[in-house]
């Protein structure tokens, strides 16, 4: 079903949500802590997290009164696979190939994607 794809891409279309995902790359976080750096109400962030969870990009687990948010990078796979279909008619992309190797073989810098 393409609804999954709809949800993933729609979730990624918002810069606040991409920033949240970037934050969660570093570590799991409580909802309040996710909200802290944003100039926006907690309720708004809570909604963004719901959207990210619906898209499968994060999971949320309540422990005590705090709800922990965890990145689920696998959810990007379907979207990534779909996108890669559009690269296949380009001339062989050696830059991407090198980048891929570097990443996969552990020589990456660990740089965070820009938010």
């Amino acid at each position: 079903m393409s609804r999954q794809l709809d949800q993933v891409f729609a979730a990624l279309a918002d810069p606040t949500r991409r920033a949240i995902l970037s934050m969660l790359l570093e570590d799991d976080m409580a909802v309040t802590d996710v909200a802290e750096p944003f100039e926006m109400s907690l309720a708004a962030i809570s909604k963004h997290l719901t959207i990210l969870a619906a898209a499968g990009l994060i999971t949320q687990e309540k422990r005590g009164r705090v709800k922990w948010c965890k990145l689920e990078p696998d959810a990007l796979k379907s979207a990534s696979v779909w996108m890669q279909g559009f690269g296949q008619f380009e001339p062989v992309n050696l830059d991407a190939f090198e980048a891929f190797l570097e990443r996969e073989l552990g020589n990456g810098t660990g740089d965070m994607p820009e938010s």
Copy 2:
């Protein structure tokens, strides 16, 4: 700027627009021909094409009275790069590696991504 990323992901979030991109994988098309398989007005498709063009995913060139639409797969690169950042903490992904090799070395099947 992340506005480019906003536009690309938002453009990809709509199944009609993804279907259009898939069609353009095969060949350049005129607006009317793009619209033909959809149960939707020509004006609606014209709007979708405008959105795809604004995101840089296609370009449009007017020759005579017909406007040709051309896929621009490079526009996916920024989005793809951003997404790949979230895969780098997974254990080495050999499936993706193989798929990458197959694609880049010309043994791909040419399968279209699902719309």
